[in-house]
């Protein structure tokens, strides 16, 4: 029996009176890649942002139910500890424009005021950039600003920034939707590398991407978790009619 790193029990989220995530129950196994797909406005991004408590930053946002990280309710922890254990990569690359590439990687330490010896910092930077296959491209320009890189490189820099904190889970909110095809495939290849050490939850509106990269897939529709299964099973033999319609392109 594999252990679940994230579990949701009767989880609901809303913006004011708009109920966007409805009664979601899900178990996410450790060191797997989970794709969360569904049409626009189905609540997949909102659900993702609930996992590391980013949802509550929006005025009027509410949530209820249990969200467990290693059997501990994240809504009973301080959000800062939650976010240290659950990293996040956003839709658009958002490196800190005032920091160098080097400082962007260790931003999680630097901005939290953690003092590390120089050798340790160098090790984290090289290790993290190597993991996201960016080290060879930027090792000679570490002192340049993060915004100097191309979009795909910036997104990998953002992944390195999340990886540097050694979280247990990394959330990806449509990480390749702003990237060109080549950068997209580079990032997708990374997912397989990262799986060994982290659990990845990837929101995508791109079915092919879900099929390509994930071990398990969750299909959200109108705020409900319609189906959650092995990706292979889901795409070859969906149980729910709505999943069938979605993956055959009946609606998008």
């Amino acid at each position: 029996m594999e252990s679940s790193v994230i579990k949701s029990r009767n989880f609901n989220a809303s913006f004011g009176t708009n109920h966007v995530v409805k009664n979601v129950n899900i178990d996410i196994p450790r060191n797997h890649i989970i794709a969360v797909m569904g049409p626009s406005g189905c609540g997949k991004t909102t659900y993702l942002r609930c996992i590391n408590r980013m949802h509550e930053l929006i005025p009027g946002a509410n949530s209820s139910g249990e969200m467990l990280l290693n059997e501990e309710d994240v809504y009973k922890m301080h959000p800062i500890f939650v976010r240290l254990k659950i990293g996040m990569v956003f839709q658009r690359p958002n490196p800190f424009p005032n920091l160098s590439i080097y400082d962007n990687v260790i931003a999680g330490y630097k901005l939290n005021g953690v003092k590390l010896p120089k050798a340790e910092k160098d090790r984290i930077v090289e290790h993290s950039l190597t993991r996201v296959a960016l080290w060879n491209e930027v090792k000679d320009s570490l002192t340049k600003k993060g915004s100097f890189l191309s979009g795909g490189q910036q997104q990998r820099l953002c992944i390195a920034r999340a990886v540097a904190m050694e979280p247990e889970v990394i959330l990806f909110d449509e990480p390749t939707s702003a990237l060109d095809p080549i950068s997209t495939s580079t990032v997708e290849e990374l997912f397989h590398e990262l799986k060994a050490n982290y659990t990845l939850i990837v929101v995508t509106h791109n079915m092919q991407q879900a099929a390509r990269v994930s071990d398990k897939t969750a299909f959200f529709f109108l705020g409900e978790l319609v189906e959650y299964d092995e990706t292979k099973t889901m795409f070859t033999n969906p149980k729910d009619n709505r999943t069938q319609n979605y993956i055959t392109g009946r609606f998008s």
Binding site: M54, L84, M88, N98
Partner: protein
């Protein structure tokens, strides 16, 4: 007929263009005139001696404005420290809490404060500080000037930070960075060029203020660096000496006017340069 009407309209268009040139140039004329006049009257006074000596008593020739320059620098620096620390905090609050009731009142009061005549602010500082502390002081002058600087700094900070994308804040929050560190390590540094230009403009704006200093810093014919005592400043010196009947004092006021003018011009140019240099490319 048609050719004629087109010609007429072209002529009108041409005339309008010339008019815009003339009026645009007319904007520059007052500045040039002021510069020219003050330079002509003041430049002969300016020399090393003028910058490092204090004014001589009536009847003696020579003397300088060192006390006013030092005083102005001290008073403005203290005012800037007070206004920058409060103003940036308030600006951060406004950009973070756009719709709260307090934000509404803060915005309203900065707008009203901006319109309060400087002499009124001087009187308020007099009743708040000079009377309770039983004496004119440079510090009370600094407080009066700080009140004048606040609205400019608050609003420029707010406007700058409002334009920064939310993704920047989320990037930092998602790394588990506490709110105050997100503000002071990410948001304010990224917006620093806009905030700085607000601060510099506020300083340029208060450098020539006389009225708030009349009943606060008061003026001092000698060089003083004690902020609990009366202190001279450039606008006060100009105000007092320019209304005196002595030629020597009048000349001193002309020289001081030139220094003040150059100072303000320099601040404005410096603002443009720093804003460009510190601009963070998003």
């Amino acid at each position: 007929m048609q050719a004629k009407s087109v010609k007429y309209r072209l002529g009108k268009s041409y005339g309008f263009q010339i008019l815009t040139y003339i009026l645009a140039f007319a904007i520059v004329v007052p500045l040039l005139a002021i510069l020219f006049y003050i330079f002509r009257a003041g430049i002969t006074r300016i020399n090393w001696h003028f910058l490092v000596n204090i004014p001589k008593p009536v009847g003696e020739t020579g003397g300088g404005i060192a006390n006013a320059i030092v005083g102005s620098i001290i008073i403005i620096l203290i005012a800037a420290v007070i206004a920058v620390s409060i103003g940036i905090m308030a600006g951060v609050y406004l950009s973070e809490n756009r719709k709260s009731r307090l934000a509404y009142w803060v915005r309203l009061s900065t707008d009203v404060l901006q319109g309060v005549p400087s002499i009124v602010i001087g009187i308020i500082a007099y009743f708040w500080l000079v009377k309770p502390l039983r004496g004119f002081s440079a510090l009370s002058g600094s407080v009066a000037l700080a009140i004048m600087m606040l609205p400019i700094i608050v609003r420029s900070t707010e406007e700058t930070l409002k334009l920064l994308p939310d993704s920047l804040k989320e990037a930092a929050l998602a790394l588990g960075v506490p709110f105050h560190r997100v503000m002071f390590k990410v948001i304010v540094p990224v917006g620093i060029s806009g905030i700085l230009s607000g601060v510099m403009l506020a300083i340029a704006r208060i450098t020539g203020e006389t009225a708030p200093l009349l009943f606060t810093a008061f003026g001092n014919p000698y060089l003083s660096v004690n902020i609990a005592k009366p202190m001279q400043s450039l606008p006060l010196l100009i105000f007092n000496y320019a209304t005196s009947p002595y030629t020597d004092w009048l000349n001193l006021a002309w020289g001081a006017s030139l220094i003040l003018l150059v100072w303000v011009l320099f601040l404005n140019i410096l603002t443009t340069l720093l804003t460009r240099k510190w601009k963070v490319q998003l």
